[in-house]
C-alpha cells in the first residue's frame, strides 16, 4: 500500500519530468535544415577524410581560409572577404572585401595580412548620399607579369536621370594605379548584369558574358577576347549557359559549369587550343556544381557542391581518372619465336573483353561547412 500524499507528490514530479521530456524530445526531432554551418576551423568533426595536395584558399561567411595538409586555417576575420586568387608567382593573394555598398580588391599575404588596397570604390563624401556613386569590383586576377589587375567592375555608370542599368565589364588596371588609368576590355550587354569572372590565358582573357537569348532568357556564355574593346568571340552556345571558367595547369583544357538554362549545373570540361574550345565533356550531372578548379599538378578537379539535401556547399574532389582514365594496357600478341616450329600457324590472340574504365566518383572532402559558392577557389602547389 502506498500513501496517497506520497503518491500525489511522486506523480506530480513524474508528470513534470515527462511533460518536459516530451517537449524536449519533440524539439530534438527537428530536421537539420536550419543548422548553421560550422566554421572550417571547428575542432569537431574532423571534416576532411581526404587530403588534397598543396594549399586551397576558400571563402566562408566573409572570411578566407586555407586548407593545407588536411587542416583549415582562418586567414581573415569574417568581415566580407571573398574571391581569393593567387599571384602568378604564388607569393601573395588577391581578394575582394565586400561591404554593403561597395567592394574593393586587396593584396594579401598568404597568411591573410593586408599588404595593399588596389581599388578605391567607396563613393566620395560629396556624393555619398547617392548609393549609385559607389562601385563594385569582383573576380580579381593578375596578369602573368603581375603588373595588370583584371577584374569585373561596374563603371562607368549611367544611373542618373532614372537610368538604372548596372552592368559589370572586364577591366584591366595597372597594379597600383587608379581606375582612371585602367581600360574596359569588354562592352557588356545592357540589363544583363554584365561580364564576369575573367581568367587570363595566353593571348587574352576568357570571361563569362551574360546576354538575352532568342527566347528572352538571360544566359551565360564563355567568351574569348584578345584586344581591348573588341567584340571577341563566343566559345559556348547560349543554350549551354556556361559560366565560371578555369584553365588547366597545362593550358590545354577549360573547366566550367553549364546549366542548360535549368536549375542544375553540370561540371564540364573542354579542350582549349588558344582560340576555341573543343566539344563539351560533362563530368558530373547529379550535383549543383560551382567554381571548379584544377589541381596544380593536374591530378583532378576540385569544386563546391552541396553535401546533401540539407547541407550547404562543401568541397569536392574529382580525380583525373574519372575523366581521363589511364590508357588500357596493350593486349599481349603472340609473336613467332625464333627457332620455333616451322609452318605451324601462329596462335590467334584470345579475344578479351574491352577494358572497362573504372567508375571514379567524386569524393566529398568536407562536411558541415558552408563555403561561398560565388567565390572562386585558389590553389597553390
Amino acid at each position: 500500500m502506498i500513501a496517497k500524499f506520497f503518491l500525489a507528490v511522486v506523480l506530480a514530479l513524474l508528470m513534470v519530468v515527462t511533460g518536459l521530456s516530451s517537449y524536449v524530445y519533440i524539439g530534438s526531432r527537428q530536421s537539420k535544415v536550419a543548422v548553421a554551418p560550422q566554421k572550417p576551423t571547428a575542432p569537431t568533426p574532423h571534416a576532411q577524410a581526404f587530403v588534397l595536395p598543396g594549399t586551397i584558399y576558400l571563402a566562408q561567411s566573409g572570411a578566407l581560409y586555407s586548407l593545407s595538409a588536411g587542416r583549415f586555417h582562418q586567414l581573415t576575420p569574417e568581415v566580407g572577404w571573398t574571391q581569393p586568387s593567387l599571384y602568378p608567382d604564388g607569393s601573395h593573394l588577391l581578394a575582394v572585401k565586400r561591404s554593403a555598398f561597395f567592394s574593393d580588391v586587396y593584396e594579401l599575404t598568404t597568411y591573410g595580412g593586408v599588404a595593399a588596397q588596389l581599388t578605391n570604390n567607396a563613393a566620395p563624401p560629396r556624393t555619398a548620399w547617392d548609393t549609385g556613386t559607389n562601385d563594385w569590383s569582383f573576380y580579381p586576377r593578375l596578369s602573368p607579369d603581375q603588373r595588370t589587375l583584371w577584374m569585373s567592375y561596374d563603371g562607368p555608370k549611367y544611373a542618373y536621370n532614372n537610368y538604372f542599368d548596372v552592368d559589370m565589364a572586364v577591366w584591366a588596371v595597372p597594379v597600383g594605379g587608379s581606375i582612371r588609368q585602367g581600360r574596359a576590355w569588354t562592352n557588356a550587354n545592357s540589363y544583363t548584369g554584365g561580364d564576369m569572372q575573367p581568367i587570363v590565358v595566353p593571348g587574352g582573357i576568357i570571361y563569362t558574358k551574360y546576354s538575352y537569348d532568342e527566347n528572352g532568357n538571360r544566359v551565360g556564355q564563355l567568351w574569348f577576347t584578345n584586344r581591348a574593346g573588341s567584340a571577341g568571340k563566343a566559345l559556348t552556345s547560349t543554350g549551354a549557359d556556361c559560366l565560371e571558367p578555369a584553365l588547366s595547369p597545362d593550358g590545354h583544357s577549360i573547366a566550367m559549369i553549364c546549366t542548360y538554362q535549368k536549375q542544375v549545373s553540370y561540371l564540364t570540361i573542354a579542350s582549349w587550343n588558344g582560340s576555341s574550345l573543343g566539344g563539351l565533356q560533362t563530368l558530373v550531372t547529379d550535383q549543383l556544381v560551382a567554381e571548379p578548379i584544377w589541381a596544380p599538378d593536374g591530378s583532378g578537379i576540385a569544386y563546391l557542391a552541396p553535401g546533401g539535401p540539407v547541407a550547404p556547399f562543401q568541397l569536392w574532389w574529382l580525380p583525373k581518372d574519372s575523366y581521363a582514365p589511364p590508357p588500357p594496357s596493350p593486349i599481349p600478341t603472340p609473336t613467332p619465336t625464333p627457332g620455333g616450329p616451322h609452318n605451324a600457324p601462329l596462335p590467334s590472340p584470345t579475344p578479351s573483353p574491352a577494358p572497362v574504365a573504372p567508375v571514379v566518383k567524386p569524393i566529398q572532402v568536407t562536411t558541415n561547412l558552408g563555403f561561398d559558392a560565388t567565390s572562386p577557389l585558389a590553389w597553390s602547389a
Binding site: 502506498i2 496517497k4 508528470m15 536550419a34 535549368k262 556544381v289 559558392a373
Partner: protein, 339 residues
C-alpha cells in the same frame, strides 16, 4: 488489541493508501497525460499561428454590371479534373512606407495543381497589368488587393482571366525572408548577376524611402532570406522588368519547395514563429495537413509549367506606365492551362 491503537484507526490508515494496481494505473495515466501535454505545449504556438493565419474568410465581391460589360469574356465553365484546384499566390509590398493596411501585391501567381498527374502550372500575372478592377474602375492589377484585400484580388483575377480561384495564399515581404531563413536558406542557380544601385531599403535599412545597393552574383549558390528577397525583388537591372522578376520568383518558389521536403513535423513551431502574421490563407487546417504531403510528392521539375505573359500577350502603353493586356491571346492560353 495492541496498546496505543484505538479502534477504527487501521481503517482510516487504510483509506489513506492505494492499491498497487490503482497506483500503477494512475502512474500510466499521468505519464500519458503529461507526455501529451508536453507535445501540446510544443505545438501550441504553431497552432495559434495556424489558427490565426488559416481559414481566412474571403468576401469575393460580385462584379458590378459595368465590369461585366467590360469583362473580356465570361468565365468558362470549369472542367473539373480529379482533385485539381487553383490557388492565387499573392506576395505583398508590406513595407514601412505607411502605417496603412493597403498593400500592393508585387507578385501575383495563379497556380493550378493537379494531384492526379502531379502537374503544376504557374502563371505569373504582371503587377502592372491594366485591368478592370472588381472594386470598380480600372487600374493596375496590383491595386486590387490594396482596395479590397484578398477578396478583391481574387474577384479581379476571376473576372478578367475567366478562371475560378479556389483558394489564396498571401505572404508579406518579411514573411518570405523569415520562411527562407527558417528552412536554412535555399540552394539556387541564379541565372545572371542581379545588380541594383537603387534597391528599396524599406525592410532593414531604417529609412523606408532610402536605397541600398544589391549585387547578387550569378551561378549556383546558397541564399539566405534577405539575399533571396533581393534576387526576386530587384527589377531595375532587368530589361524584362517585372517579367524577369516573375521568372526569378518562380525559381525561388521551386527552391523553397525542394528545401521544404526535408522538413520534419518538429520544425513546424519554428516555421510558424517565423511566419507570424506574414501569411494569410483561406485554406483550413485540415486542408493544410493534406497539402503538405501532396507538395512533397511533386518531385519532377519538368512537371511544373511556368507561364509568363510576355509580349505579345502584353504590351506597354497603358496609363501610368502599365501594360495593355492582349486578351485575345491571353484568354486562350489561360483556358489551356486553367480549364
Amino acid at each position: 488489541m495492541p496498546l496505543g491503537i484505538k479502534p477504527g484507526h487501521r481503517a482510516r490508515k487504510s483509506r489513506g493508501r492505494l492499491s498497487p494496481l490503482t497506483t500503477l494505473t494512475l502512474a500510466v495515466l499521468a505519464i500519458a497525460l503529461s507526455a501529451v501535454s508536453g507535445g501540446f505545449a510544443y505545438f501550441l504556438p504553431a497552432a495559434v499561428v495556424a489558427f490565426n493565419s488559416t481559414s481566412q474568410t474571403v468576401q469575393v465581391p460580385s462584379p458590378s454590371p459595368i465590369d461585366i460589360l467590360f469583362s473580356p469574356s465570361p468565365a468558362p465553365s470549369p472542367v473539373q479534373q480529379q482533385g485539381a484546384f487553383t490557388v492565387l499566390l499573392l506576395g505583398s509590398d508590406d513595407d514601412s512606407k505607411c502605417s496603412c493596411d493597403h498593400f500592393l501585391t508585387q507578385s501575383m501567381i495563379l497556380m493550378r495543381v493537379q494531384p492526379a498527374t502531379k502537374q503544376v502550372t504557374m502563371l505569373s500575372i504582371p503587377r502592372d497589368l491594366y485591368v478592370h478592377l472588381s472594386t470598380g474602375g480600372s487600374g493596375k492589377i496590383d491595386d486590387a488587393y490594396s482596395y479590397g484585400g484578398a477578396g478583391a484580388a481574387i474577384a479581379t483575377v476571376e473576372q478578367d482571366f475567366g478562371v475560378h480561384v479556389d483558394d489564396y495564399i498571401w505572404v508579406g515581404l518579411l514573411g518570405l525572408i523569415k520562411v527562407i531563413d527558417a528552412i536554412g536558406g535555399i540552394d539556387i542557380v541564379t541565372s545572371n548577376p542581379v545588380m541594383d544601385d537603387y534597391y528599396p531599403a524599406d525592410i532593414y535599412g531604417g529609412n523606408p524611402f532610402g536605397y541600398e545597393r544589391v549585387a547578387v552574383l550569378a551561378g549556383p549558390q546558397h541564399l539566405d532570406g534577405i539575399h533571396a528577397m533581393q534576387y526576386v525583388r530587384s527589377r531595375h537591372s532587368d530589361l524584362q522588368s517585372d517579367f524577369g522578376r516573375s521568372k526569378r520568383q518562380q525559381q525561388v518558389l521551386q527552391a523553397i519547395r525542394l528545401k521544404a521536403k526535408q522538413l520534419a513535423p518538429s520544425d513546424i513551431p519554428a516555421l510558424a514563429a517565423a511566419i507570424g502574421g506574414e501569411l494569410k490563407t483561406n485554406f483550413g487546417l485540415d486542408q493544410v495537413a493534406q497539402l503538405v504531403p501532396l507538395a512533397a510528392s511533386f518531385d519532377n521539375p519538368d512537371a511544373i509549367n511556368q507561364v509568363l505573359l510576355l509580349p505579345p500577350y502584353t504590351e506597354p502603353g497603358a496609363p501610368g506606365g502599365s501594360l495593355v493586356p492582349n486578351w485575345g491571346l491571353i484568354l486562350p492560353l489561360v483556358r489551356q492551362y486553367f480549364p
